[in-house]
């Protein structure tokens, strides 16, 4: 049973993309950093803008705003460095965000069969219903994973 099937309180990080807010499970977030130099080199993965250097590691930058709000971010205030896990492997990916991030505790509702693959769950905060993101479905190079009822779940939450 994955945690998205439970209705308990979880720590999540709220992030802002343009006018909308989304959430990411807090245990998938490594840190929030100010934009640093973006290194670009030839490649063929359109979702990746380039890479940044963080603590000696090369971290790819993936602007997920186009998929989530339909346009790329005009201004990047921070990079939210997140961890993606698939089986035993994990890697970092930097998500540009356009505003401050907030750590909250919230009750999660599992995603339904009709929800988009990038939705891992839902939460309610300040009268707003917010999508909890499934990073594996949203970023390239990782196959989305499905729970027993066919809905995507967060990779690290699998029992």
């Amino acid at each position: 049973m994955s945690w998205t099937e439970q209705y308990d309180a979880r720590s999540c990080v709220l992030l802002r993309l343009g006018d909308r807010r989304f959430a990411l499970a807090a245990d998938q977030v490594s840190e929030l950093v100010a934009p640093s130099r973006l290194f670009r080199f030839a490649h063929r993965t359109p979702e990746i803008d380039g890479v940044i250097l963080r603590r000696g590691r090369v971290v790819p930058v993936c602007d997920v705003a186009e998929k989530l709000i339909g346009k790329r971010l005009s201004s990047r205030r921070f990079y939210l460095i997140s961890t993606r896990r698939l089986g035993a492997t994990s890697d970092w990916i930097a998500l540009p965000v356009s505003g401050d991030c907030e750590l909250i505790q919230a009750d999660l509702t599992p995603a339904g069969p009709s929800d988009s693959p990038h939705v891992a769950a839902w939460l309610s905060h300040d009268g707003e219903v917010i999508e909890v993101l499934n990073l594996n479905a949203l970023t390239p190079g990782m196959e989305p994973q499905n729970s027993a009822n066919g809905n995507p779940v967060l990779a690290e939450a699998q029992a």
């Binding site: 290194f39 080199f41 030839a42 490649h43 890479v51 250097l53 790819p60 890697d91 190079g141």
Partner: protein
């Protein structure tokens, strides 16, 4: 009295690399992968033109003994803007010669970082990984990633026709090769 240190620091593995430019971007290649560096001019008479639409990054080939060596334009290969190439790397253990703009410098890398899984297209074949030099991220090219087996087959077929036509032409004109 002196004690020998219990832990010896393991020797850092280093690799000699050549930094080269292609269309204003810098790439690295292991020095051990490069057999020869030649100027484009020095190969002007030796190169044969080859035009195979399926492999647009190759326009010339060289005959080295019985082998065909194909000249890959690095800018076209990496999808970059065409730029005036000045040098050719003849690569070891492949039938590829790489057309580049110029050499930046030779240096040493101590760490090669695997390409993140987020890069999931041709770049996984193009590069062995990434290295950080002077706070710059440089892709380290894979010398075996310039032409696929399929592309080599297509080029060999085109080259065979070309060589036969040239031989027939030479015979007609009474020239002995």
């Amino acid at each position: 009295m002196r004690f020998e240190p219990v832990h010896k620091t393991p020797a850092v593995r280093t690799e000699q690399i050549i930094l080269f430019r292609s269309s204003n971007q810098v790439f690295a290649i292991s020095s051990s992968s490069v057999q020869e560096v030649r100027s484009v001019d020095s190969l002007a008479g030796a190169a044969m033109e080859i035009d195979e639409p399926a492999v647009p990054k190759v326009h010339h080939m060289l005959r080295r003994g019985e082998r065909n060596v194909y000249v890959v334009n690095s800018a076209t290969h990496f999808g970059l803007r065409p730029s005036p190439a000045a040098l050719i790397f003849l690569l070891r253990k492949t039938r590829v010669a790489l057309l580049i703009d110029g050499i930046e410098k030779m240096t040493t890398m101590t760490r090669l970082q695997a390409l993140s899984g987020a890069f999931c297209h041709e770049e996984r074949v193009w590069y062995r990984g990434l290295t950080v030099l002077d706070q710059n991220v440089i892709p380290v090219v894979n010398p075996l990633g310039f032409l696929t087996e399929q592309e080599l087959l297509v080029l060999d077929a085109a080259a065979g026709t070309l060589i036969e036509a040239e031989a027939a032409n030479a015979q007609e004109m009474g020239i002995t090769p």
